[in-house]
């Protein structure tokens, strides 16, 4: 086979693969969004006509409203605390050398790698001993333990670009170390702080198994959806799903907008 032809075929194969993956990722999201406007009870083809009745039903459902409110509180609380803790962890990692630093880093970094089914069970078992379960606060506490990992990663990445001279320069100009932290380090990290705020909110907004374990009767939105899904086919699901999907995609997009992660500077420099 001539080289040109084989190259062309390989290129076509590669682009087809990318298109197929894009379709694979987009399909479920599109299905949810499109069928939330379908008048049929069961989402299938043919399309049953445009309708807003399921969206309306969602807004009238008190349980969903409560769950949404819970999710909002949990997401906000998680975002604030995880960003604060993530900043502290990232700054300590950037700035200090101490014994047990690796262990400290692992303690912050590992939680997302533990399957949530196990983590949820362990958290419930432990927190119920402390009498801390079954509350919105308990969900926030557990979500923070996971989201801090992402917050730290994003902020540490930003601190990697922080010149080692800037802090001493600030001291030299009359700023105490604490003042330096707030007038120099925090402003420098601002984009990363915003990114980690939104990403932590997205992580929390998306998490259902831990929330289900430790939340007790306090359902967050994903838990409500999980409970709906395990019941009968309910066309409201597509409508909530669309709302949840839009919110979480927006949160991630905003977060990504503020991170410095780009598709590799090295790869782009020569092209």
């Amino acid at each position: 086979m001539p080289a040109n032809l084989s190259t062309a075929l390989s290129r076509i194969g590669q682009y087809t693969l990318i298109a197929a993956i894009a379709l694979f990722i987009a399909t479920p999201m599109l299905v949810i969004a499109v069928f939330s406007f379908d008048a049929n009870r069961f989402p299938t083809i043919p399309w049953g006509g445009f309708s807003l009745q399921w969206h309306q039903a969602v807004f009238e459902d008190a349980m969903i409203r409560d769950a949404f409110l819970n999710s909002l509180i949990v997401g906000l609380g998680t975002a604030i605390i995880a960003t604060l803790l993530g900043f502290a962890a990232a700054y300590i990692d950037y700035r200090y050398m101490f014994r047990g630093k690796t262990l400290f880093g692992l303690l912050v970094a590992i939680p997302p790698a533990v399957p949530v089914s196990i983590l949820g069970m362990a958290m419930l078992a432990f927190l119920s001993r402390l009498g801390l379960f079954g509350s919105v606060e308990a969900i926030i506490a557990c979500h923070v333990a996971i989201a801090t990992s992402f917050a730290m990663a994003i902020i540490r990445l930003r601190l990697g670009e922080f010149s080692r001279d800037l802090e001493p320069a600030a001291w030299n100009l009359g700023a105490s170390p604490v003042a330096t932290l707030f007038t120099v380090v925090v402003p420098f990290c601002k984009p990363a702080l915003i990114a980690s705020f939104f990403l932590s909110a997205a992580v929390s907004f998306d998490e259902f198994l831990i929330a289900w374990f430790v939340g007790g009767v306090n359902e967050t939105l994903p838990v409500r959806i999980l409970n709906l899904l395990q019941g009968q086919v309910n066309p409201k699901i597509n409508a909530i799903g669309t709302i949840v999907l839009i919110i979480s995609v927006l949160l991630v997009l905003v977060a990504q907008r503020f991170t410095s992660v780009r598709a590799g500077k090295a790869a782009s420099s020569s092209s």
Binding site: L166, W171, N172, L173, G174, S176, P177, P187, F188
Partner: protein, 362 residues
């Protein structure tokens, strides 16, 4: 001692496995422009950081204005520094950068804006106030860094190789500017550099350091003409060092016998001596003459041209004198008539009074 504004008293700094500054003593007068020089790793930057309080000394003391700095953290010292990296805050505008030290002193918004603008205008940056740091050229950034350090009207300014990132043309202009500022403000400047040209152009006095110790302090031309030891002579660059044994004394002169010949050197620097000694002859003090002509005079060596280096109208001719490299510095017009093809032989002569006997190592 009494009129010293800054005193380094047996100042010592050890890091883990590295003795950076070895108990140095130095007095700096108020209003003096001091250049700390030396090769990289000689301890000059560490000394500056100790002055600013960015590092804690492991021994000795620093006194500024008679007050011991021991235990006083950097942010309470008022020893502003211009950094090699400039260390401007990228998230602040030009004027906000200059305002920063005033903000830290809790000076009101209107007052600090006014004072920052005064400094920006003084340095010709009045129209750049609202710009971001990334929108400035290298020279403009340099000025912002200087304005930021001077806005609090300190009595001392520390500069850590501030011009090393600039191109040659800009560097000379900034030198002039720094010199003017120093004269206008009348405050003490402590300037760290490894570039001789900057130290010579700016400093009242240079302090030459090596391996954590001070090798010599003095006016630039004195250090250049009368180096205290072989290290200083070599560091100052355009010097030729000749070694030999003391063969006798003639009044105030010493006669020296060495592998390169017989030389007469004035003994004013050290009233010695016996045994092995070295003396220095500056490259611009050497005259050239054709080796064909006979001459049995002292203070002459013969060598072959190796090559020529041109720096502007100044030329450095390198000679091989019995395996030792000799440098001779001449203006272009002085050597127009000479044929300096590599391999040509020349006599290298100098006046006895221009040779400088190095003090003997203890």
């Amino acid at each position: 001692m009494s009129d010293a504004f800054v005193t380094l008293d047996h100042l010592d700094k050890r890091y883990a496995g590295h003795h950076a500054v070895k108990g140095i003593n130095l007095d700096i007068k108020s209003g003096e422009f001091i250049a700390l020089m030396g090769p990289s790793g000689c301890g000059k930057s560490t000394t500056l950081r100790l002055l600013a309080g960015l590092d804690e000394p492991t021994g000795g003391d620093i006194r500024i204005g008679g007050r011991s700095m021991s235990g006083i953290p950097a942010f309470q010292r008022d020893t502003p520094m211009v950094w090699q990296s400039l260390a401007l805050f990228p998230f602040l505008s030009v004027v906000e950068n200059v305002e920063f030290p005033l903000r830290m002193k809790k000076i009101g918004k209107i007052e600090r804006r006014k004072r920052a603008m005064e400094w920006l205008e003084r340095l010709g940056l009045g129209t750049m106030a609202e710009r971001g740091i990334s929108q400035l050229s290298g020279g403009q950034r340099q000025r912002v860094a200087i304005a930021r350090s001077l806005v609090t009207q300190p009595s001392i300014l520390l500069l850590d190789e501030p011009l090393s990132a600039l191109d040659a043309h800009l560097r000379v202009r900034m030198q002039t500017e720094l010199s003017r500022l120093h004269k206008e403000l009348g405050i003490t400047f402590v300037y760290v550099t490894h570039a001789q040209s900057e130290a010579f152009a700016l400093a009242d006095r240079i302090v030459l350091m090596n391996d954590g110790t001070i090798q010599q302090t003095g006016r630039p031309q004195d250090v250049y003409r009368e180096p205290a030891n072989a290290f200083v002579a070599e560091f100052m660059g355009m010097n030729n060092i000749v070694s030999g044994n003391v063969a006798g004394h003639e009044g105030t002169d010493v006669r020296i016998d060495g592998p390169l010949g017989r030389f007469t050197v004035p003994a004013k620097s050290s009233p010695t001596s016996e045994g092995k000694v070295s003396f220095v002859i500056a490259a611009d003090r050497v005259t050239l003459s054709d080796a064909a002509k006979d001459g049995g005079a002292a203070n002459r060596v013969t060598g072959n041209v190796i090559g020529i280096e041109f720096v502007g109208s100044t030329q450095t001719i390198f000679f091989d004198v019995d395996g030792q490299e000799f440098r001779v510095q001449k203006q272009q017009h002085e050597i127009d008539a000479l044929d300096l093809t590599p391999g040509r032989r020349f006599d290298l002569n100098w006046q006895p009074q221009h040779a400088w006997l190095l003090p003997q190592a203890a």
